[in-house]
């Protein structure tokens, strides 16, 4: 079938173990997994996580990887941040049951489009809705890790200040990482000191906190479907070229 494509080795399932868990918000946790044969990845890529029940039943889901892999005593470690899906099958297990040292199967890295390459010098604008911050945070962390000076702007839409994932680190990086600007849009309840009323991301937010189209930024939008549709339409309306807007949408599906 693949006469035009070189054969590639399959990406194998491998056993990872939970080595650390961090509570991010009331509904989101970061899981640090030790993956001995992890080949490395680019910011924005994801990993498939597979659970197996004693009767052989399996359930797999894709999770964005939250940052660069780091070395650990038992091999490389990767982080995923899991948002609890009400009535979900996999996320409640990973948040409530999955314990330190427990094994899980992972497969990756996956996805070759929603990625940022640090050798690309174009300004970057990131627009996150809720847990859509995860792959975008991987880009922010990778930028820091390689010492990139590419200017980044992040617009992060959340319901309330309590729903901000990576809140402390974003505050720190917004202060210390030269060339990274972080702006928040609150949709339900704004914290004291924030100017304006709660609202969804609109033209004014993108105009004020994003890059103008004539700078030809690379844009990454990640969040729930309706959010991504609305933001991508705004950006196209402002004159950003569709081919420079990369999107990743997630729906309410377990």
């Amino acid at each position: 079938m693949a006469t035009g494509t070189p054969a590639r080795a399959p990406i194998k399932w491998q056993v990872a173990r939970l080595v650390e868990r961090r509570v991010e918000t009331a509904t989101a946790q970061t899981l640090v997994l030790e993956v001995p044969d992890w080949p490395g990845h680019l910011p924005g890529q994801h990993v498939d996580v597979r659970l197996t029940a004693p009767d052989g039943y399996q359930a797999a889901r894709s999770y964005s990887i939250a940052g660069p892999a780091v070395d650990g005593p038992g091999g490389p470690r990767i982080e995923v941040t899991v948002q609890r899906v009400p009535d979900g099958e996999v996320s409640p297990y990973l948040i409530d049951v999955f314990g330190a040292g427990d094994p899980v199967e992972v497969r990756g890295p996956l996805g070759g489009w929603f990625i940022w390459r640090s050798e690309d010098t174009a300004p970057v604008q990131l627009v996150a809705g809720g847990s859509g911050i995860v792959p975008l945070m991987a880009m922010i962390r990778a930028r820091r890790a390689v010492g990139s000076k590419v200017p980044f702007r992040l617009i992060y839409s959340v319901r309330t200040a309590q729903d901000v994932i990576y809140a402390d680190e974003l505050r720190r990086r917004g202060r210390d990482d030269f060339g990274l600007d972080v702006a928040y849009v609150y949709t339900r309840e704004a914290p004291d000191g924030w100017r304006g009323e709660p609202h969804r991301v609109g033209l004014a937010d993108v105009n004020t906190h994003g890059w103008p189209p004539d700078l030809e930024p690379l844009t990454y939008v990640c969040g729930p479907t309706g959010f991504v549709e609305a933001v991508a339409d705004l950006l196209v309306g402002l004159g950003h070229a569709s081919r420079r807007i990369r999107t990743e949408r997630f729906g309410p599906t377990g």
Binding site: G4, A60, E89, Y93, E105, G111, E229, D233, S242, T253
Partner: protein, 199 residues
Amino acid sequence: MGIVSPGFSGRPRTQEPALPPGQYLTEDFPVLSAGPTPRVSLDTWEFVISAENGTEYRWSWQELMALPQETPMVDIHCVTHWSKLGTTWQGVSLDTLLDGVDTGAHFALAHSYGGYTTNLPLDDLRGGRAWVAHTFDGAPLPAEHGGPARLLVPHLYFWKSAKWVRGIRLKTMDEPGFWETAGYHDYGDPWREQRYQGD
């Protein structure tokens, strides 16, 4: 069978229908696209089959609607692990569109408004297994799901069912499309779990 995850039992599944391996059922209709949703006017919409010898076969929206319509009810399977059963569509069979197209090609590259592409063996577009679909669940196909018209090839992972489809290039040599170039499988059979290159 993989390693057992301690304490994992999964959803109750006494009535679980047969699904391809690694898939789970969803009732809603997730949207997965690589970029903004193109908005295509029906006045300028067209569908073009270009044969390997350069001949082009064109249909306007009115001409597509005047062709014999079919109403497939099919299961669909997304590479991101969700499956949706018994979806109802209306559209024109690729058999109808390819009827009268003079070709010896074995491969097809579907291309879309917005620049998306995906490759399929031409045989997979024949035999009542593929449509240009414009109606979903009795209503015009919404733009975020590929409206005004998308390819519908339900026996392959759904990324092969190109949204906002604009035409098909018939080719003597296979040419990987957008996701196939980005690490996904060339063919994408859900029942053989052909998700990524090398599967």
